[in-house]
């Protein structure tokens, strides 16, 4: 990596918000940058940029490298979303390669007590959705890239074949998932000699490298109609699932318009359904726009109270209305409308804490027909991987990808060494839900790769996060940290966060990340919030982002210390 990192300014600032400390490492570069959840993946992307690839080429290289060095979180057995902005035209598109339910899916497939007890939506073959990421990569390269799959996969193949050093955090993740890995994939690369790969050892994944080589030689057909697909179907069905080659053959990538909103004049572009993320980020920011956030002290009791109350309103709406728009009519325009947000903001009292949180009614603010819906709840696992890429021309890719839970369903395709997702768990178990499983349906997601433009229309920030429903709250808080509190990229990412869900008409607990001042916590308790303080860590979302500094003509990268994130520029 010949002088790849041209300008790295490391600011070891300590966030003395009270108690927990997080080091802030701002990284600056002039020509291009990749900020991902693993240094080797960021370097893989930069390698492609330096070879003349554009941001799309580099993003696909990063995605494949993440499959190797962070196989627990994302990979070709999963799916995701990429938000792409083209510098020349200013156009923003959304690439949706989210998994879909197989043709064998039924609305009540997880409804029985026996199914719930066996955790069929989470573990084994029945949990696996039809993977979309391979078609997503080929679509991105063919439509927007300049390189071939074989070219962008070269760094990932090298990492898979030569191996990389296992970090203690990765050993811990493998250890935590030992139960399902040893049950469904006892011979996998992550369990050499039957035990979790030790920290400091070299992890090689030649089978995965072979899969990438085959894809480079034969294209996506080898996955959706050929040898790799047959191995996927065999692995799923051997683990109790019901998938067919027809499922793979049917898979289609969606190219959509992103959800668009504004926050204090900044334009927000993010994911539309089947992700709820973009819509609810816009909704949360719209609600917060009704308060003078900049005048409040960062992470002060007043700020956090208003933010927690706004989160409850957003999650109440998410549960009631959100699902795959190919199957369900969702009031997207209403949910992201400023007028509706103003109405919701009017429900927030400075001195009272909402206990009952019924969903609002966005339909009057929506141009579509009205329907009543019942959505599914969220879950609390930590997973997924998000990264951002910017090239010298100014093309931007924000990309979030996942196999859902760490190591997904636990099923690893034995011949090709990649993890199969358990995305079926993102469907609701209640067959009455708008988000119940149906053949070909995309399960509801929270993934939110987001691009922000400044009020003049210039690129301002690209940001995304992992962390299930906390993606929505993490990305929103980071955007406010930059826009309202003037923070640099990593400084904004490393701040402690809050999360306050709501569902079934009731408020959930306010969860506060360690690092927020204990006196603030006490004040919020006194105000009536039912709260818990939780350790600083991945639960609150792990984010990677790049901020544009047009005055100095440079990019400012940040990557989350809650994970192994490192931005690399050149």
């Amino acid at each position: 990596m010949r002088k790849a990192i041209v300008a790295i300014a490391v600011l070891a600032l300590v966030l003395a918000a009270g108690g927990a400390m997080a080091e802030v490492h701002e990284v600056y570069s002039k020509n291009g940058m990749v900020s991902s959840a693993h240094e080797l993946a960021s370097k893989a992307g930069v390698e492609i940029l330096q070879k003349g690839g554009n941001a799309i080429d580099a993003a696909m290289a990063t995605m494949l490298a993440l499959n190797v060095v962070e196989p627990n979180a994302s990979g070709i057995g999963g799916g995701g979303f990429s938000t792409i902005r083209f510098a020349k035209t200013g156009e923003v598109v959304e690439l949706d390669y989210r998994e879909v339910a197989p043709l064998s899916a039924t609305k009540d497939m997880y409804a029985s007590e026996a199914s719930k007890k066996a955790r069929e939506s989470v573990l084994g073959g029945k949990a696996v959705g039809v993977p979309g990421i391979v078609k997503g990569i080929f679509t991105a390269l063919e439509k927007y890239g300049t390189m071939t799959f074989a070219e962008v996969a070269a760094p990932a193949i090298r990492l898979a074949e030569e191996g990389f050093e296992v970090h203690p955090m990765q050993n811990q993740i493998i250890t935590d998932e030992f139960g399902k890995l040893s049950k469904y994939s006892p011979g996998c690369a992550f369990l050499p000699d039957g035990l979790p790969a030790e920290a400091g050892t070299i992890l090689r994944q030649p089978a995965l490298g072979f899969a990438f080589r085959l894809l480079g030689e034969q294209g996506p057909k080898v996955f959706y109609e050929g040898e790799i697909g047959e191995a996927v179907v065999a692995a799923v069905n051997a683990a109790g699932g019901n998938m067919s080659m027809q499922d793979l053959k049917n898979y289609k990538v969606l190219i959509q318009k992103p959800v668009q909103g504004t926050y204090r004049g900044y334009s927000i572009y993010s994911t539309p359904p089947a992700s709820s993320g973009g819509t609810h980020i816009v909704q949360l920011l719209n609600i917060m726009e009704n308060f003078d956030v900049g005048a409040m002290k960062h992470n002060s009791p007043d700020y956090l109270h208003h933010l927690a109350e706004a989160m409850k309103l957003v999650f109440a709406d998410r549960q009631k209305y959100m699902a795959d728009t190919a199957f369900v009519n969702v009031p997207l325009a209403g949910l992201s409308s400023k007028e509706y947000a103003k109405e919701l903001a009017g429900r927030i009292s400075r001195y009272d804490v909402m206990k009952d949180v019924p969903a609002g009614d966005p339909w009057p603010f929506n141009e579509s027909a009205r329907k009543a819906y019942l959505g599914g709840g969220g879950n609390k696992h930590i997973s997924t991987s998000s990264f951002s890429v910017v090239d010298a021309e100014g093309n931007i890719v924000a990309s979030t990808n996942t196999v859902n839970f760490f190591f997904g369903s636990g099923v690893i395709v034995p011949e090709f060494g990649f993890v199969l997702n358990n995305e079926m768990d993102d469907f609701a178990q209640n067959p009455e839900s708008v988000n119940a499983p149906e053949p070909g349906k995309r399960p509801l997601s929270s993934m939110s790769p987001t691009i922000v433009l400044d009020p003049e229309g210039f690129p301002f920030m690209t940001i995304g996060a992992a962390g299930a429903m906390r993606i929505i709250t993490a990305v929103s808080q980071i955007i406010m940290n930059v826009v309202d509190f003037g923070m640099a990229m990593d400084e904004a990412i490393e701040q402690p966060r809050i999360y306050n869900p709501a569902g079934g008409g009731k408020a959930g607990k306010l969860l506060i990340e360690e690092g927020i001042s204990p006196s603030t916590v006490d004040y919020l308790k006194l105000r009536g919030h039912d709260l818990d303080v939780q350790p600083f860590g991945g639960f609150f979302g792990t984010a990677q982002g790049i901020l544009f500094d047009h005055v100095r003509g440079r990019m400012n990268g940040g990557a989350d210390s809650r994970r192994l994130g490192v931005p690399v520029g050149y």
């Binding site: 203690p168 811990q172 039957g194 035990l195 979790p196 030790e198």
Partner: protein
């Protein structure tokens, strides 16, 4: 006729229960982390037969001569087992005390290193360690000396560099206690 069937069924149940737990070594979890499964893999590689029951009750000790209690708290594991921390602490105290009363040797193992420490795991360490006849700890798990503070007088604490490395002290301990590879 009916009585005969009942007696036969009862006999079959007793036989199958004792057949299910027939090995000299019994494994249980203390805190419901997956670490107990890893110790089983190590024992298997050492060709030492062991039964494993993460939620072992005192009456399940069967004819075992050694109880290996693998310590590590996992909220996820407790949740999956449908129990809370207090219930697990009660179960562990009952099983380990019964094992000692029945003359079994109790080996307490902590294989998770630094990552398997923290408030939850520490509560289980402090509950199980005083009842161990011997302790095996993987490096990083005892940097603050919690095992010395919790262990009984003259109880040996052996260390290993990693999970694979526990085979050494495990073999040495079991051999001293009359258990060898089959």
């Amino acid at each position: 006729m009916k009585r005969t069937i009942v007696i036969l069924a009862a006999l079959a149940a007793v036989l199958s229960a004792s057949a299910a737990f027939a090995a000299d070594v019994m494994l249980t979890s203390v805190g419901q982390s997956p670490d107990v499964m890893m110790v089983r893999v190590v024992l298997r590689k050492m060709k030492i037969e062991a039964d494993s029951e993460p939620l072992l009750k005192p009456d399940g000790l069967g004819g075992a001569k050694v109880l290996v209690a693998v310590v590590g708290g996992s909220s996820k594991g407790l949740g999956a087992a449908g129990i809370d921390k207090e219930q697990e602490l009660d179960r562990v105290a009952a099983v380990l005390k019964t094992a000692r009363d029945k003359g079994l040797k109790v080996l307490v193992m902590h294989i998770g290193g630094e990552g398997r420490r923290g408030a939850l795991s520490d509560a289980f360490i402090e509950a199980a360690t005083p009842l161990g006849h011997r302790i095996i700890v993987v490096d990083g798990g005892n940097d603050d000396g919690i095992f010395e503070k919790s262990a009984g007088k003259d109880v040996k604490i052996l260390t290993a560099p990693n999970v694979n490395g526990t085979a050494g002290p495990l073999g040495e301990t079991l051999s001293e206690w009359g258990i060898s590879a089959k």
